[in-house]
């Protein structure tokens, strides 16, 4: 059970109403709706960071799922287990991302992303080093933003005990 009231459509504040027009907006938006001045900026940022980017979806999901697993976020792991499958990760790969370390059959760029995600959690000053030369500079910025936003959402969802989808 969530630690705060998840706002429903009937009580959606004026600035939050657009997010409820298509039905249940999900627990992140429903929680942010408690502070309507945050929802537009917050959901806009989340939408931009988690939307399509220059890094392929499969690689983005590696970062999100690995980061979420390292931070013990049950909500984000549950959501992105499905998203990772849609992005083409196998069930075995998804399991490995939630374990100690990836197996030997991962590509070098994907292994770099796992190492990068781990360092974002434990040693962020050296995280970018893990990406090596596999990514362009703007992709590095995109990946750092993605991992940092994921850590934010990990904490947000865990602290508020957002219900699993």
């Amino acid at each position: 059970m969530a630690r705060v009231t998840l706002v429903g459509a009937q009580q959606a504040p004026l600035l939050a109403r657009p997010y409820f027009e298509g039905g249940d907006p999900g627990p992140i938006a429903a929680a942010l709706a408690q502070v309507p001045e945050l929802i537009q900026a917050g959901m806009g940022f989340i939408g931009a960071v988690y939307g399509p980017g220059s890094v392929p979806a499969r690689q983005r999901e590696i970062v999100i799922l690995r980061t979420s697993a390292r931070h013990g976020c049950r909500y984000c792991v549950a959501v992105h287990t499905r998203a990772a499958a849609r992005a083409g990760l196998t069930a075995a790969e998804i399991d490995e991302l939630q374990g100690a370390a990836p197996g030997s059959d991962w590509s070098q760029p994907d292994r770099a992303l796992v190492e990068f995600s781990d360092r974002m959690s434990t040693d962020p000053a050296r995280a970018v080093d893990a990406l090596g030369s596999h990514f362009q500079e703007h992709q590095v910025v995109e990946l750092v933003t993605l991992a940092a936003a994921t850590i934010f959402l990990n904490r947000f969802a865990t602290a508020l005990s957002l219900p699993l989808p």
Partner: protein
């Protein structure tokens, strides 16, 4: 620049409403805020209200409205009203049942200042009025009005009724004229289906588009209208919440303006005046 934000440019109404508190000595049958003696006070501190008034002047608001709950339950209200009224004209909504000689003596300092007291009276029939507003309410209000006027204060009368016959209205208008309150200072408004009225299935349903945009500040955030921060089952409604941020006042004012840019024309047929 915040200093360049002006209420007129933002398309907001000229009055800034402040909910001083939510508790009340009465428990009226249709109360929007479920106010009563034992409810959460949800009060704005007087220092905050003064700071908001200062910001309101800078933003170009032309009037302040104080409502609750019963504002005169707050012991500091006469002093606050004096300071607010030196900044902008003030309209205070009151049930007019607390005006003891001692309180009225403390209100002497308001003489000559632009303070209007809007008192509630729902019928010229004491029994009917008191059924809605509480025992001996009619007698207390009738006693208070001349005493407030004797302080030089403008007194307005607000009647909240959805089912008032022409005869009943005529009787009430005769009464307020006898009390020296002109027709321009008598407001009749319908019961709104929010708060206690909603729980009892009373009144008319309103949406944002029915309510003129009148920025309303409470201890729990800024709302579209004084009809917004209503309470049901002890929880404040958020459907007309604009922002949780109330200071600087330009934050909710700008948010209101953004909402207005995308809003249909306001019918504006329900007003708290």
């Amino acid at each position: 620049m915040i200093s360049e934000v002006r209420v007129q440019a933002l398309g907001l109404g000229g009055r800034l409403w402040l909910y001083s508190n939510y508790h009340c000595n009465l428990t009226c049958s249709y109360c929007l805020t479920e106010s009563g003696p034992a409810v959460d006070r949800r009060g704005l501190e007087p220092e905050v209200m003064l700071a908001l008034a200062d910001e309101a002047v800078g933003l170009g608001f032309t009037e302040l409205g104080i409502t609750g709950g019963e504002p005169f339950l707050m012991p500091w209200l006469p002093d606050l009203l004096e300071q607010l009224a030196r900044r902008l004209p003030v309209l205070v909504l009151s049930n007019a049942t607390l005006f003891t000689s001692r309180l009225l003596a403390r209100m002497e300092k308001l003489r000559g200042l632009p303070v209007t007291i809007q008192v509630s009276l729902d019928s010229a029939q004491p029994v009917l009025n008191d059924t809605m507003r509480g025992p001996r309410n009619f007698a207390k209000v009738i006693d208070a009005i001349p005493r407030l006027r004797a302080l030089g204060l403008r007194v307005r009368l607000a009647t909240t009724r959805s089912d008032m016959s022409a005869a009943a209205r005529g009787q009430l208008c005769g009464l307020h004229r006898d009390l020296g309150i002109g027709d321009e200072d008598h407001v009749v408004r319908p019961v709104i289906r929010r708060g206690r009225a909603a729980e009892r299935g009373q009144g008319i349903v309103v949406s944002r588009d029915d309510l003129p945009p009148e920025l309303t500040i409470t201890a729990e955030g800024a709302f579209w209208s004084p009809f917004g921060p209503t309470v049901v089952a002890g929880r404040m409604d958020t459907d007309l919440l604009v922002t949780r941020t109330v200071r600087p006042l330009s934050v909710p004012a700008r948010a209101m303006s953004r909402l207005l840019e995308g809003a249909p024309p306001t019918a504006g047929d329900v007003r708290v005046r």
